[in-house]
């Protein structure tokens, strides 16, 4: 069993002047302080990637910069699923005895480190270079295709409620990128981006960083335990997806739960990837946290609110805390740990004994699920 003994999370938003390495360093410093560890006590390092600091060896660039000499280090790239993939890998490595204490860190000045056009262009390159990119799709367009199919099969009117909930949660979270309250009508009336998705269905591009210390369970060092971790990879390009309404999330989450000997009904907190409202709706429904087509309705009814039956992304998620790349989903885990510790301030829910986390990368192509058990 592995435990998360330290978390670091920077504010997300426009953090002018901070580089990728600055943001990684800030988050790493906070995670080490939180864990009560010195640099020399870290023997493993796993990093994500940064589109503003592309490098063949980001982990050792960071190790040198930050002052680490780990016995094990490398970077991982799995799009939006990277954050939880880093955590899963650290969990497996400490269980295998390959390292004792691993620092997991990511950060990127995705907003201020490049022009908006450059960011959109870089991200659009995840499409197939021959069969998709020449047609001028964007990331929202891939998800717009997915959303059109969802709308066709289930109706899409209520998914705006998910954006409203994320914004309300962010308003109670220091460091959130977007905090101005919104209504479902404002979401549905916002600027069209890629039909049926509108501006407020999309997460912002942010600067930010996040880090964790993950170590082999030791009764003297408390922290949430990773009970289960699993992945599923079904395709890369949207053109090659066998379905745009059924993805790998059910398989991945099901195996993570089974591994931990946990039933979905025992989960009391959900941290689910929400790059777009449609992403969140599909993942919630596919995992089984909402009936098909009903995620938006449940959000409107308060089911996913902090005081509801299944608190969801209480920090505001990617949709409103913000999205800085790899660190984006890591904020979901940092918030889960805060909720488990009882450190979530005005958004504190009943300390959840068990939480389910799920991230996706590509166009719902790569899935990583984690089951976390409170270990205070």
């Amino acid at each position: 069993m592995s435990r998360i003994t330290g978390i670091g999370l920077t504010p997300f938003g426009r953090l002018a002047g901070a580089s990728t390495l600055d943001l990684m360093s800030r988050a790493a410093t906070d995670a080490l302080t939180d864990a009560g560890l010195e640099r020399r006590e870290i023997d493993g390092l796993i990093t994500g990637y940064s589109t503003t600091h592309p490098h063949l060896m980001l982990s050792t660039v960071f190790a040198e910069h930050f002052g680490l000499r780990p016995a094990y280090a490398h970077a991982v790239q799995l799009g939006g699923a990277t954050g939880f993939a880093l955590v899963m890998l650290a969990h497996l490595l400490v269980e295998a005895g390959a390292a004792r204490r691993i620092l997991v860190v990511a950060g990127e000045n995705r907003l201020s480190g490049q022009s908006r056009d450059a960011a959109i262009q870089t991200l659009a390159q995840v499409g197939h270079p021959t069969y998709e990119v020449p047609l001028g799709p964007t990331i929202p367009a891939y998800y717009g295709l997915v959303a059109s199919r969802y709308a066709h099969e289930y109706g899409i009117d209520e998914i705006a409620e998910l954006a409203v909930l994320m914004r309300a949660n962010a308003a109670r979270t220091p460091g959130a990128h977007l905090t101005e309250p919104i209504t479902a009508a404002m979401v549905r009336d916002s600027k069209p981006i890629a039909a049926p998705l509108r501006l407020l269905d999309c997460c912002p591009v942010s600067d930010g960083g996040a880090a964790f210390v993950i170590e082999r369970a030791d009764p003297a060092r408390p922290g949430p335990r990773i009970r289960g971790a699993a992945q599923a990879h079904t395709h890369q390009h949207v053109s090659a997806a066998s379905s745009l309404t059924a993805f790998g999330a059910r398989d991945s989450a099901g195996r993570a739960l089974a591994q931990g000997g946990v039933a979905l009904a025992d989960i009391r907190y959900a941290a689910i990837y929400d790059s777009f409202t449609i992403t969140l709706a599909i993942l919630l429904e596919e995992i089984g946290l909402a009936p098909r087509g009903a995620a938006g309705r449940l959000a409107r009814e308060g089911h996913f609110s902090p005081e509801g039956a299944m608190p969801l992304n209480t920090h505001g998620g990617l949709l409103s805390y913000g999205h800085c790349g790899v660190g984006g989903a890591m904020a979901h885990l940092a918030e889960t740990v805060r909720q488990m510790r009882g450190e979530a301030g005005p958004r504190q829910v009943a300390e959840p004994p068990l939480a389910l986390l799920h991230g996706d990368g590509g166009v719902l192509s790569s899935h990583v699920s984690l089951v976390l058990e409170n270990g205070r």
Binding site: G136, T138, A141, S148, R149, I193, S239, A240
Partner: protein, 122 residues
């Protein structure tokens, strides 16, 4: 691979598919082998361009300044009658999921792209 089958990805009007002679699998995103069975015995064929709209969106904001002048443009995933799915441009209005479509081609950015329209439209 058959050079005589025109294919929009090489700048000639046409939609090409490759059928595995060993297992019958049809692929559109082309590799020099069959991703189902590994056979390298593939026959390249011309697709009819007839298909059904599986998903459709409208890109309001293009991914690069060079393409901005084209926005908004429709983007669809189409299930071809030969059994593969392909991405195509479509008119930004009047195309719905389930519509039968025909494929033409149009210039876009640096090259040629498939452009589908509902059957029966001029």
């Amino acid at each position: 691979m058959s050079a005589e089958i025109p294919d929009w990805t090489t700048g000639r009007e046409g939609l090409a598919l490759a059928r595995c002679r060993a297992c019958g699998h049809v692929q559109y995103l082309r590799r020099p082998f069959c991703p189902e069975c590994g056979s390298e015995d593939l026959g390249v064929e011309q697709a009819s361009g007839r298909g059904t709209v599986y998903a459709v969106t409208v890109v309001a904001r293009a991914p690069s300044p060079e393409l901005s002048a084209h926005a908004p443009y429709g983007l669809a995933l189409v299930d071809a009658e030969e059994g593969f799915r392909f991405m195509a441009h479509c008119p930004p209005e009047g195309v719905a999921i389930g519509d039968p479509v025909l494929t033409r081609f149009r210039s876009f950015g640096a090259g040629l792209v498939p452009f589908v329209t509902p059957e029966g439209t001029p």
